[in-house]
């Protein structure tokens, strides 16, 4: 893990230590978020699969029924029969917050006459197969709405999980080791500087001491010489 490009100073060291603390805490929180999201996601996705299978089955049946209706009626008649719907569907969308992911909640209501069958046509000119087809479709429609809700939820959750997972991994395997390494590097560098200055002081002291001794010796020698010069006259 390469060391960050910073000056090895005490200020930088303090700054990095604070950042490391924040990162470790953030990493823990994000990890918790990821785990909880994952739990929610698994539930959603299981329901999604079941619902999708159900809807696909229902729609295949409805399509077959439509094909049958199209076979016995002329295309113009078929189109005319369902051209103008008796009810119109409008959708309300709310939001639910799942681990700070906004997921949609749909509730739909139909406007128009609700009583009787869903078929928007008179029965005189249409065949029974068309009734079956429309009936099959309206049965599966409730599930289709639920499928839309749950599928969008699972997509949004998947996106959020991916994002969170990347963040967790980036912190765990890149950011935090990098900072630890840099902190170590700065500490070593600072210690090294400290040792260097101690040694320098010792050296200076040594030199001063040597100089003092030298001076002292010279003085002594001088004293001995003067006393030697004066000596014989005295004795």
């Amino acid at each position: 893990m390469p060391v960050l490009n910073v000056n090895p100073t005490r200020q930088e060291l303090n700054r990095l230590k604070t950042r490391l603390r924040t990162s470790v805490r953030g990493h823990k929180l994000l990890k918790d978020k990821r785990d909880e999201l994952m739990k929610q996601f698994m539930d959603v996705v299981r329901e999604n699969r079941a619902l999708r299978r159900k809807v696909e089955e229902g729609l295949t049946r409805a399509n077959t029924a439509f094909a049958a209706a199209a076979a016995v009626m002329s295309p113009e008649m078929l189109e005319q029969a369902i051209l103008y719907p008796r009810e119109s569907v409008s959708l309300e969308m709310g939001f639910q917050n799942v681990m700070s992911v906004n997921v949609p909640i749909y509730s739909f209501h139909t406007t128009g006459s609700a009583e009787g069958s869903a078929a928007p046509y008179g029965f005189a000119a249409t065949s029974g197969e068309l009734d079956d087809a429309v009936e099959a479709l309206s049965q599966v429609f409730q599930d289709m709405l639920r499928l839309a809700e749950i599928e969008k939820t699972s997509q949004l959750l998947a996106q959020e999980i991916e994002k969170t997972r990347r963040r967790v991994n980036a912190l765990e395997y890149v950011k935090i080791p990098q900072m630890e390494e840099t902190i170590k590097y700065i500490t070593m560098k600072l210690d090294e500087n400290e040792r260097a200055s101690t040694i320098r002081l010792m050296k200076v002291k040594d030199m001063l001491l040597k100089e003092a001794i030298q001076e002292r010796r010279e003085e002594d020698a001088k004293a001995v010489r003067t006393s030697a010069d004066a000596g014989p006259t005295q004795v």
């Binding site: 994952m38 996601f41 996705v45 999604n48 699969r49 999708r52 299978r53 809807v55 696909e56 729609l59 295949t60 409805a62 399509n63 439509f66 094909a67 199209a70 078929l78 189109e79 369902i82 051209l83 719907p85 008796r86 009810e87 119109s88 569907v89 409008s90 959708l91 309300e92 969308m93 709310g94 906004n102 949609p104 749909y106 739909f108 139909t110 128009g112 869903a118 078929a119 928007p120 087809a133 429309v134 479709l137 309206s138 429609f141 289709m144 709405l145 499928l147 839309a148 809700e149 599928e151 969008k152 699972s154 997509q155 949004l156 959750l157 998947a158 996106q159 999980i161 991916e162 997972r165």
Partner: protein, 104 residues
């Protein structure tokens, strides 16, 4: 809570039935038309777009664009040729994206 609309997009025979339910139906002839229609619907007030798999199989990038957006929810449905398994694949892709592997 605000009002949104639901659309069904796909080849004529597959989506016509939804008109009886009161959805807004957009029959398209080919993929290019479907792409344009999807873009238009996304700009308008549509929260759910049901798209037939027959159309969807050739416009995956267009669909992926709306995957991370809140609206519209593009939901694949089997068209008259029956289920092609693309919708199920989308669920699988979501799992792989989240977990990193298909665990179901």
């Amino acid at each position: 809570m605000s009002e949104y609309k639901i659309a069904a997009l796909g080849d004529r025979d597959s989506v016509l039935g939804f008109r009886a339910l009161g959805l807004d139906v957009f029959p398209v002839e080919d993929v290019e038309e479907a792409k344009a229609a999807l873009r238009r619907l996304a700009r308008e007030n549509y929260a759910i777009v049901y798209l037939t798999e027959g159309c969807a199989k050739d416009m995956a990038p267009e669909i992926a664009r709306y995957k991370d957006a809140l609206t519209p929810a593009v939901i694949l449905i089997p068209g008259r040729e029956g289920s092609l398994g693309i919708g199920m694949d989308a669920v699988k892709t979501a799992v792989e994206r989240a977990v990193g592997a298909d665990i179901l």
